[in-house]
Symmetry: C2
């Protein structure tokens, strides 16, 4: 939305919404010309007659979706009428603000490509993506928690063997990541497919570079005992893209564009529910102010810095580098029957 300062003042509009919700189209309209004034300073005057007109329009739009054949789609569309109408009438959205919203969505659409997804970013910074995750991944006894996919996942990634390196051209400190994939009963999930992707030390994913670079991104398969390991880069904090409308929105609202340091995982296995998550870096200052509300405490892991000269697990030479290591044991839920 990123609207300019509106030309209208508007206060807390909840009494408008409550009025509208309590009124039914088949009730006697309240035709009094006595205006009601929502609470809050400098709130707009909205008459009962005006409330009635606005509620009647909402009802007419709801009725237009009556013929929808699919009941779930009908339910969704009715909610997609009620909530935007409640928003518009509650905030008394100005025509200029509406135009700004149209311009914002247009700009988001035009900057979106196969390698840049501004609508996902918008959903992320509004916490909508995380809320969808919450709704679909209710807390389970011991399964690994899900978090947002983010805008940088791509279907195509190179395969690496267990112990392989996902970094490619991406620069950063080498980081050994290892763990197991099990079910909630502790049973190994042999051959689980593990997709991993991350930003480099400059804070950029491969898809943010010109060209068709693929780096900091790979998939591998857990072994017969569900064990896996790979070399990645120690995650570092980075800014979400600031050159589009979502970046402008964060600037205008005084919000930080920084994401807490993290490494993305997507884990799939036959008969198991797909898990999309991150691990975060213990001690990161940004854990409490992640721009996309993706941090869950259960996903924070120690990334242990190794003293110079410490041998690597697989004997790899990291001359000129220090390295770190992290462990992430992944617990998948069974797929819904």
């Amino acid at each position: 939305m990123a609207g300019a300062p509106g030309t209208r003042s508007a206060g807390h509009g909840s009494s408008i919404m409550a009025d509208a919700a309590n009124r039914r189209a088949d009730e006697e309209p309240a035709m009094t010309s006595e205006p009601t004034r929502p609470t809050g300073p400098a709130a707009p005057i909205v008459t009962a007659h005006q409330h009635q007109l606005e509620a009647e329009l909402t009802d007419a739009v709801l009725a237009s979706f009556g013929p929808t054949p699919d009941p779930r789609l009908k339910h969704l569309m009715e909610a997609l009428v009620r909530h935007p109408h409640a928003f518009i009438t509650e905030v008394r959205l100005s025509e200029r603000e509406w135009q700004r919203a149209v311009d914002f969505l247009t700009a988001a659409g035009h900057i979106t490509t196969d390698r840049r997804q501004e609508f996902v970013l918008l959903s992320d910074v509004l916490g909508a993506s995380t809320q969808v995750i919450n709704v679909n991944h209710e807390a389970s006894a011991n399964a690994t928690e899900a978090t947002v996919t983010g805008p940088f996942f791509t279907e195509a990634s190179p395969e690496v063997p267990i112990g392989g390196d996902i970094a490619g051209q991406a620069k950063g400190q080498p980081c050994w990541v290892e763990g197991t994939v099990t079910g909630t009963e502790g049973n190994a999930v042999p051959g689980a497919r593990i997709e991993v992707w991350q930003a480099d030390a400059d804070g950029l994913y491969d898809v943010q570079y010109a060209g068709q670079r693929v780096s900091g991104r790979a998939h591998l398969f857990a072994d017969a005992r569900g064990q896996y390991a790979f070399w990645a880069l120690t995650p570092t904090p980075y800014s979400i893209p600031q050159d589009g409308p979502v970046g402008s929105l964060l600037q205008r609202t005084g919000r930080s564009p920084m994401r807490a340091s993290h490494l993305h995982f997507r884990v799939t296995a036959p008969g198991m529910r797909t898990l999309v998550t991150h691990i975060f870096v213990e001690g990161d200052d940004l854990l409490d102010s992640d721009a996309v509300f993706g941090v869950k405490r259960s996903l924070v892991r120690p990334f242990r810095q190794q003293p110079p000269g410490t041998p690597t697990p697989d004997g790899r030479e990291v001359a000129g580098h220090t390295w770190c290591r992290a462990r992430f044991d992944i617990v998948l839920q069974p797929a819904a029957s």
Copy 2:
């Protein structure tokens, strides 16, 4: 949003929303593991603990907009958090449905150009555009009512003199339109600028043709007494564009894409509030099912068919055509001080 049949069932979720609304983050969380079940058939089970987690996320996102310097923008953004979160938690939006929404918005963005505005069309078919008009143009004693701008307005249009023809290459029955522009006190508004645009008899606006056609679109200026007249085309019903995601949405929901016959006006004058409106054709079968909810009774006008051979007001020859005439007296409100 134009989602496929969801894999989740969901019932009426208002009890979820009411719970969330009534709960404050600083209250003792209800940690009972006894699930509450929203009313409705086959509704998802949502535990009190789950409600709490979802409400806490919404509160965290609201808090993130706390630093917004502009109070109006802060108010808008808070509402743009609360309403989408209420939507997601109420309908228990699935991840697949969320992805469909992202795909829908992406498709809308990619089909939108300088001459095609799918986001306006989306706002129109959800009744959001008309609701914004309602909110900003509360009923006035005798001023002409506003209605939606629609996606086909363009800033650039040729000027025609009073009595000129706006049709250009657009085909259809000639229609003489005349009227006056006055203020609410009956005072003439001399020199008011009147923009007019319309679809042709094939149901298409100029911008829907390939190339840079400009037709069925012009502006003129009222005379010193506020009077105006022009030749246009008798409005005919047409379908809104069906080749984009909004057209697909209407198909999937069993809604008609037809707009009631109309002629668009945008009237501006110094010191007066800009009026964007249509006139509709009395007797049109589509007045009650307009795809964008734009019809207001006060804007319906007789378009009087003239018997063959009836002389035209300005002596123009319409050989081989019949013609019709309509009158539209426009009453502008003073600009807000």
